[in-house]
């Protein structure tokens, strides 16, 4: 009958709830709530340059969230995606290090490929720990995230340190000929943008339209049955991890050649964890992923203004993102268990 009223009521409730909680948090630290939120939004969308920055964050979020669609379909909690992004950045930097004089487009392409290999390797390690070692992918992946972080720190302070100054500011910058070209006036490279959109499309097609995607979902929904049907769940799990890791690695490599032009300790910027939130907020519906990524990117970029203008910590963006997902869970749970019970999922 009125099929749109319920989704609308749901969205309004979620937004209202999140707004109230965020306001309460801001009041706790004596910050003006409306002004703070205004600064946050204007900081991400106020000028063409800021919109460019927001889209520059949108790309790695979109890459990682699309990648996570696969692992979630296979029933996997790929928390290790953060480390897979890091390893992509490490492999890309390692690939370009022998060329301090710079080079051409082939080197950059090679670096992106190397990043994909690095991410996939890290992901398959977590997958193998699960399939051969029975270690849950949450713990395997999380442990590997920290190992990846340790590896990055060791490289930056050890073998890859800048001559004279080993510091948290990262490795020696790449030769400018190895930087991805940016659009005029925007800190956003068209190559990254295209890569993000293509990867998203490819993942959706793979999941919805390919036989492999179907088997993946079968494995995710019922591993025992999948085993009996000869779908080789362990093999599918490793494949899903490899593809997911490759995309995450691509995101990391793009951060190196397209954004920072060097390896930093915080090269992954928690995009992997944020992407997990995006995928949960989208409730695994692919069409919701690009807009949610854009909104989260806007919050991330806007929050950079908070320490500058209001002396607040930039982690407010993470707070809002987390509150949004929890509010969605709360509303869904209330609907299923108390308001409209008995309809099943």
């Amino acid at each position: 009958m009125v099929s749109w009223t319920r989704p609308l009521a749901r969205i309004v409730t979620v937004l209202l709830l999140s707004f109230l909680v965020t306001t309460a948090v801001l009041v706790l630290v004596d910050a003006p709530p409306l002004r703070t939120l205004g600064i946050l939004l204007r900081g991400g969308f106020g000028s063409p340059a800021k919109i460019g920055q927001t889209f520059a964050v949108w790309v790695p979020l979109l890459l990682a969230s699309s990648a996570l669609l696969l692992t979630f379909a296979a029933g996997l909690w790929n928390i290790g995606i953060e480390g897979q992004i890091i390893l992509g950045a490490v492999f890309a930097t390692g690939f370009l290090r022998p060329f301090p004089e710079g080079g051409g487009v082939f080197l950059v392409a090679g670096a992106l490929a190397a990043g994909m290999v690095g991410g996939a390797l890290w992901a398959v390690t977590a997958g193998a720990l699960k399939t051969w070692g029975n270690v849950h992918e949450i713990f395997g992946g999380l442990g590997l995230n920290f190992v990846g972080l340790g590896l990055t720190l060791w490289l930056i302070f050890g073998p890859w340190r800048r001559p004279g100054v080993a510091s948290m500011s990262g490795t020696e910058p790449l030769h400018p000929s190895l930087w991805l070209r940016e659009m005029a006036g925007l800190s956003l490279s068209p190559v990254s943008l295209i890569a993000g959109v293509l990867a998203f499309g490819a993942m959706v097609l793979l999941l919805r339209r390919s036989r492999w995607g179907l088997t993946l979902r079968a494995v995710g929904q019922n591993p025992e049955a999948a085993l009996l049907f000869g779908l080789r769940p362990n093999r599918r799990i490793l494949e899903a991890m490899a593809v997911c890791g490759a995309l995450a690695g691509l995101a990391g490599a793009l951060q190196v050649v397209g954004v920072y032009h060097r390896l930093l300790p915080a090269i992954s910027s928690s995009y992997g964890y944020t992407a997990l939130l995006v995928t949960m907020l989208a409730a695994f519906r692919p069409q919701l992923i690009p807009p949610i990524c854009l909104f989260f990117a806007l919050l991330n970029v806007g929050s950079i203004q908070l320490p500058l203008q209001l002396k607040l910590d930039s982690s407010l963006s993470g707070v809002i993102q987390g509150v949004l997902v929890l509010a969605v869970f709360l509303v869904q749970g209330l609907e299923e268990r108390f308001l409209f019970p008995g309809r099943g999922r």
């Binding site: 070692g133 849950h136 720190l153 268990r337």
Partner: protein
């Protein structure tokens, strides 16, 4: 001898927060609920302890605040998980990130200030003993709390009637329900009690072991280690606590190594527990995979070793329970 005693004393005190968090999570998981939010809730509780301690000038109020934060986080897990039927893992993971960011955001004004600290108690009688006095004699009250809780929880879980009910609701909630045990109610109670201990772990960090607040505080990652230790400990309070002391020993060793190799960056030592975490989980979990079972079948000598290290989770861990839907 003196050096050994001092090292052991260091392990007992640095291990205290890990022990508290591990014991709390063991209780929660024994009841069949996963509170995955540990890494965030410990940080938020640590921040609350410093904030309340600074504002009130009383570290004991700070400790109370940390426990309260742990209870509130656990209450969110309980409401969204068992009550509203959302995935406990998903809720816990979101709370991990949310609590961490909330801690950094709210704790910003309290960062790098000389924080309040709990007093050091010296136990009359014991502190005068030659060796034991050095190891156990002078500690923060939270350290004594962690020491007392280990045998207490073991007794509660394995030797008392309520402990039997606790194990029942985690293993076979349907059967427990049929016997008239209030499954939902008890699960929520144990989630809250476990959460309180997790919160106190945060307070133990910021009021005793690593005093003060900052970004990073230094307790980052400890929650994940505690979650892994619950598995390593096979959901047994004593084994889990021993695991916590093992990690504390590694940490103390790391500090010593750092003094000998000043060239290595400090964050490297912070990440060093994680490869160990993966290895320990591999040891206690690998035995149940097909290929290890095959090997154990072929070599009987291996079989005993494999079986001894197995950790078996409570059968209903993380599963949603709705009595009216059970067949």
């Amino acid at each position: 001898m003196e050096f050994l005693a001092l090292t052991l004393a260091g392990i007992v005190s640095t291990g205290a927060p890990l022990v508290l968090a591990t014991l709390g999570e063991t209780l929660t998981e024994r009841a069949g609920i996963i509170n995955l939010s540990l890494d965030g809730s410990i940080l938020l509780a640590a921040m609350a302890a410093v904030a309340v301690g600074l504002l009130s000038g009383n570290p004991w109020l700070g400790l109370g605040a940390s426990g309260l934060v742990g209870i509130l986080t656990a209450a969110l897990v309980a409401v969204l998980g068992p009550v509203l039927g959302r995935s406990q893992v998903a809720v816990g993971f979101i709370l991990t990130l949310l609590c961490r960011d909330l801690a950094y955001f709210l704790g910003h004004p309290f960062a790098r200030k000389l924080g309040p600290e709990l007093p050091v108690w010296s136990l009359p009688g014991i502190s005068a003993l030659p060796f034991l006095g050095v190891v156990f004699g002078r500690h923060s009250p939270v350290v004594y709390l962690s020491l007392v809780l280990i045998p207490l929880l073991w007794w509660w879980v394995f030797l008392t009637g309520p402990g039997l009910e606790l194990r029942a609701i985690g293993e076979k909630p349907q059967a427990a329900f049929a016997r008239g045990i209030r499954v939902h109610y008890l699960r929520i109670v144990y989630t809250l009690v476990g959460g309180a201990l997790v919160g106190l772990a945060g307070g133990a960090f910021s009021l005793a072991v690593k005093p003060g607040w900052g970004r990073p505080q230094g307790a980052e990652g400890a929650g994940w280690i505690a979650l892994a230790l619950v598995i390593f400990g096979g959901w047994h309070p004593v084994r889990a606590a021993l695991g916590a002391y093992l990690f504390a020993a590694l940490q103390v060793l790391g500090i010593t190594l750092q003094e000998h190799f000043p060239g290595l960056p400090a964050p490297l030592f912070q990440v060093s527990p994680f490869p160990v975490m993966i290895l320990t989980l591999l040891v206690v979990n690998m035995g149940r995979t097909g290929w290890v079972q095959d090997l154990a079948y072929r070599y009987p000598g291996l079989r005993r070793w494999v079986n001894r290290w197995q950790a078996t989770a409570p059968a209903a861990l993380g599963r949603d329970f709705q009595p009216e839907k059970e067949g």
